[in-house]
Assembly symmetry: C2
Homo-oligomer: 260 residues x 2
Amino acid sequence: MAVKFSIEGVEGLPEITKGADLAALIVDGVLLEDGDILVITSKVVSKAEGRTVEAADREQAISDETVRVVATRTFEGGATRIVENRQGIIGAAAGVDASNAPEGTVLLLPVDPDASARALATGLRALTGAHVGVILSDTLGRPWREGQTDLAIGAAGVHVFDDLRGSTDASGKPLAVTMPCVADELAGAAELVKGKSSGVPVAVVRGLGHLVGDLDLPGARSIQRPAERDLFRLGADEAYNEGYRDGFDESQAEGPLTSA
Amino acid sequence: MAVKFSIEGVEGLPEITKGADLAALIVDGVLLEDGDILVITSKVVSKAEGRTVEAADREQAISDETVRVVATRTFEGGATRIVENRQGIIGAAAGVDASNAPEGTVLLLPVDPDASARALATGLRALTGAHVGVILSDTLGRPWREGQTDLAIGAAGVHVFDDLRGSTDASGKPLAVTMPCVADELAGAAELVKGKSSGVPVAVVRGLGHLVGDLDLPGARSIQRPAERDLFRLGADEAYNEGYRDGFDESQAEGPLTSA
């Protein structure tokens, strides 16, 4: 057995409040080494950046963070909006979330998660001299599959894709379309030690130093597929209804068809 | 730092052919311990189960494996069908794949990945006495995000969800809708050591024994959301076109609207 890595939660971090120096707090909690990748729950970055609003303003905050509505799920007593938010991420409620937020408030995502990741990676490298990468994670649902996984919403100093296009498989055949999103896989792996209720918002991945690189590598924004190239850019009901209206109007405009 | 796990690729497995005893081969390659979770690339299970067809029959194989077409992406010279396959998995080409398949053939997914996982877990537990779990993984694309991640398509002896519904966050607020799909996160984490071109199809996760359980736990099939509850059960273009036809026909049936 040769290729191996480990993931460890960083314990003992204090409750993060606005203005907290996350890089300094992380360095207090763990001795970083070259090639480490830190996966940080975006919520603590939001807290450090003061991205809180009053809980009473939650619906308005979701609207403010929304660039376009992708789909709406209605249920008894309400509706969940699946939207593309300012950060380009498609998810429920634009990432606005009450869990693990200070009492009476909800947390918004960092304004620019890649920039937040870059600032953190820069700070961590300066404080320790270690060549480390940073991923900011968030918990997101997905089409077709129940439950959620943690995904990368910000990244710096780490390759977000293991671009295998052009390489070959074990038998020499080209792997034409294979481009594993290692940043998402790392975010999900870190969730397995961070948990949701344990108050451990940071994990260190050790052993995958080949994925660490320059601070100007493309960030997590490069993971987002532009809507015009996405087969699922709109919910099925929303697309059906749009088509229905257009078909109805077009039929009215054409008038009765002259068929037998 | 307290919560920690490691993932290690199992090296030295021979090329897997039809009839191979995977459990015996894995036990030759790694000393298993209680609480280990094995993540196995479903391709080697397909090979052991003889799930190969002639490459010339690829398109027919995809049709045969397809339960319903979800969306079609056309490109110069062809089209990719995103379909729900017999196993209930939504993905490109029904999981029929030429990469890492024997020359001149393509591989189909195992007929029943959860049953394959259960057989493997049963065999591994019998051979070693160790209480281990098994996940079968496959590489899948996803809406909204570029690249692929490895996901769980079969599971046995392992909890596929870390069901937190009813529990609370660090500040005591209920985590109403949070149900991390740990099986998918484990599959993705294992991809980070297995890679696509390294010929390492098995990885061992050590340190997450709390996720290992009885062999009759729900398998990966329980991850699949039924189409009727899925906001993205159909591609946006396909849903639009369906709506357009219905709207057009309805408008024809109603006749000219009596408006001003």
